[in-house]
C-alpha cells in the first residue's frame, strides 16, 4: 500500500516537472520556429542556440512586481492564473507515456482529461472579468464561446474512438493499436471508414481549444490589446503562458494516443516512450508551423466552422460508426 502511494507521489512530481519543463522550452521552440518562418535568427544569444533563454525569462518574470489594477476583483484576478495551470497538470497524471510510464492509469482516462480541460474556460472567464477591463471581458467572452463550441465536436470525435476501441482507458486504447502503423486508429477500418476525417476534426478542435492561431481570437492583439491577459504582468502572465503550452502538450498527447497508436512503433519494432515523445513533438511542431503561417479567422467564420461543419460531420460519423459496429 505505502509503496503504491510512494509510486504515485513520485510519478505526480515527475508529471509536474514534465509539464513545467515543456511549457518553458516550448516557448523557446515557438520563438525559434516563428523566427525561422519569418527569416530572422530568433533568440540565439543566451547559451548555445539560445537554450538559456527560458530560465532567464523565468527569473525575469519572477523578480517583477505583481501589479493588480485598481478596480479589479482581487481574489478572482489572483485565482485565474492558477486555475489556468493546475487542471493542465492534473491531466498529465493519467496520460500513459509508455507501457509502464503513467502516474496513475485510470479506467476513465479520456473522461478525466476532458473534465479537467473544461475548467480552462473558467480560468479565462475569471481572468477577463476579474481585470475589469472592457477588452479583457470581450476577449474572455469570445474565448469561452470558442472553447465551448469546439468542445462539442472534440468530445463527439473522442466518443467515436472510444466506441471503436471499447474502452476509455488511455492505456487500453494505445495497446489496442499496437503492431505497426496500419493498426492505428487514424486509418479507416471496417467499423470506422471516416477515421481520417475524425483525426482532422480532432486536430482542428485541439488547435481551437488551446486558443492557438488561426483561432486565437481571444488574444487578437490588433483589436483587443492582448485579450484576457492584458492586465497581467510578471508570473501571473507567466502562468497563463505555461498553462497554454501545457495544454498544447496534452492536446498532442491525446491525439497521439487516440489516433496515432500511442507509444507504438510504425514498423513494429522497439515500442517505447521515445516513439510517444517523437509523435507528440512532431504534432507540436505542426501546431507552431500552423500558427505562424495562417492568418487569423473572424469570429463568425470560427463559430460557423464549428456549428455548421464540424459538429454535423462528427455527429454523422458517430452514427455511422455506431451502426457499423452493430451490423458487423
Amino acid at each position: 500500500m505505502s509503496l503504491t502511494l510512494l509510486n504515485v507521489i513520485v510519478a505526480v512530481v515527475i508529471a509536474i516537472a514534465f509539464a513545467a519543463a515543456n511549457a518553458a522550452y516550448l516557448v523557446w521552440a515557438e520563438r525559434r520556429g516563428a523566427a525561422r518562418i519569418q527569416r530572422r535568427p530568433g533568440p540565439n544569444i543566451n547559451g548555445p542556440f539560445g537554450l538559456l533563454q527560458p530560465p532567464l525569462d523565468g527569473i525575469k518574470l519572477m523578480t517583477k512586481q505583481l501589479m493588480i489594477p485598481g478596480g479589479a476583483d482581487k481574489i478572482l484576478f489572483m485565482v485565474a492564473p492558477v486555475l489556468a495551470m493546475a487542471p493542465a497538470i492534473m491531466s498529465f497524471v493519467t496520460i500513459p507515456f509508455s507501457k509502464g510510464i503513467a502516474a496513475h492509469n485510470m479506467e476513465i482516462g479520456v473522461l478525466m482529461i476532458f473534465a479537467f480541460a473544461s475548467m480552462g474556460a473558467m480560468a479565462i472567464l475569471f481572468a477577463g472579468w476579474g481585470s475589469r477591463n472592457k477588452y479583457s471581458v470581450m476577449a474572455s467572452v469570445r474565448a469561452v464561446s470558442q472553447n465551448v463550441s469546439y468542445e462539442i465536436p472534440m468530445l463527439i470525435t473522442a466518443i467515436t474512438v472510444v466506441m471503436v476501441n471499447g474502452s476509455m482507458d488511455l492505456k487500453a486504447i494505445s495497446t489496442a493499436q499496437a503492431g505497426g502503423f496500419w493498426h492505428w486508429n487514424i486509418f479507416p477500418s471496417l467499423h470506422s471508414p471516416l477515421m481520417p476525417i475524425s483525426f482532422i476534426i480532432f486536430f482542428i478542435c485541439s488547435l481551437a481549444e488551446t486558443n492557438r492561431a488561426p483561432f486565437d481570437l481571444g488574444e487578437a492583439e490588433s483589436e483587443l490589446v492582448a485579450g484576457f491577459h492584458t492586465e497581467y504582468g510578471s508570473m501571473g502572465f507567466g502562468l497563463f503562458f505555461m498553462g497554454e503550452y501545457a495544454n498544447i502538450v496534452i492536446g498532442a498527447s491525446l491525439t497521439t494516443i487516440l489516433f496515432l497508436g500511442g507509444w507504438d512503433c510504425p514498423f513494429g519494432m522497439f515500442p517505447g516512450v521515445w516513439w510517444f515523445l517523437l509523435k507528440i513533438y512532431l504534432l507540436i511542431a505542426t501546431f507552431i508551423w500552423i500558427r505562424w503561417t495562417f492568418p487569423r479567422t473572424t469570429i463568425y467564420g470560427l463559430l460557423n466552422l464549428s456549428w455548421k461543419i464540424l459538429i454535423p460531420i462528427s455527429l454523422f460519423n458517430l452514427l455511422l460508426t455506431a451502426g457499423l459496429l452493430k451490423v458487423f
Binding site: 481574489i75 473534465a115 473544461s118
Partner: protein
C-alpha cells in the same frame, strides 16, 4: 473501512481510518465553504466561483465513495458546462451589478436564524434516530457496469431524463425564435 461496523471510539489520526476521516472532513469543508461563499457573495461572478468550489467538493466526495465515473461527470457537466452557462447569463444580463438593496423578506434577521436553527436541529435529530443499514451493492462503479445498469434496470429513468432535456432544448428554441421576429 467497513461501513456497517459500529465505531465506538474515535480512531487515531495517523491510522488508515483516521486519515480517511480527515480527508472526508476536508472535502466536507470545501463543499460547505463553497456553498457559503456562493450564498454570501455580493457579486454574482463570485457566487459562481463559490458554486464551482462547492461542485469540486462534491465531485471529490463521489471519488472518495469509489465512483470515479460520477465524479468526472460532475466535473465535466457541472463545473465545465453549467457554471460556464451561468457565467454567460450573468455577463449578458448585468455587466455592472451593484449591491442588492431591495426590501428584506420576512425571513431575514432573527426569524431567519430561528428557522435555520430549527431545520438544523431537525436534521440532526433525524440523523441520530435513523438506523443506518448497509444496502446491497448495485454495481461496482465502473463505467461498463454503470452503462449496463443504465440501459437495463434504469432504462426508463434514462429515457425520461432525455425527454426532459429535449423539452428544454425545444423550449429554448421557441423562446429564441419569438425574440428574433419581434
Amino acid at each position: 473501512m467497513n461501513p456497517s461496523m459500529a465505531i465506538t471510539e474515535a480512531p487515531g489520526l495517523f491510522t488508515a481510518d483516521g486519515l480517511t476521516g480527515l480527508i472526508f472532513l476536508v472535502m466536507m469543508a470545501v463543499t460547505l465553504i463553497g456553498g457559503i461563499i456562493s450564498c454570501c457573495a455580493e457579486r454574482l461572478v463570485r457566487a459562481v466561483a463559490g458554486l464551482i468550489v462547492c461542485f469540486i467538493g462534491v465531485a471529490a466526495l463521489y471519488y472518495f465513495l469509489n465512483s470515479p465515473f460520477v465524479a468526472m461527470m460532475q466535473m465535466l457537466i457541472y463545473v465545465g458546462a453549467v457554471c460556464i452557462t451561468i457565467a454567460f447569463a450573468i455577463m449578458l444580463a448585468a455587466p455592472e451589478e451593484s449591491k442588492k438593496n431591495g426590501p428584506a423578506g420576512p425571513l431575514s434577521g432573527p426569524l431567519g436564524f430561528i428557522t435555520a436553527g430549527l431545520v438544523t436541529i431537525g436534521l440532526i435529530v433525524m440523523a441520530m434516530r435513523a438506523k443506518f443499514t448497509s444496502l446491497p451493492k448495485v454495481s461496482d462503479g465502473t463505467m461498463k457496469e454503470m452503462g449496463i445498469q443504465l440501459l437495463t434496470s434504469y432504462s426508463m429513468v434514462f429515457e425520461l431524463i432525455s425527454i426532459v432535456l429535449l423539452i428544454a432544448i425545444i423550449g429554448a428554441l421557441v423562446i429564441a425564435r419569438a425574440g428574433r421576429s419581434k
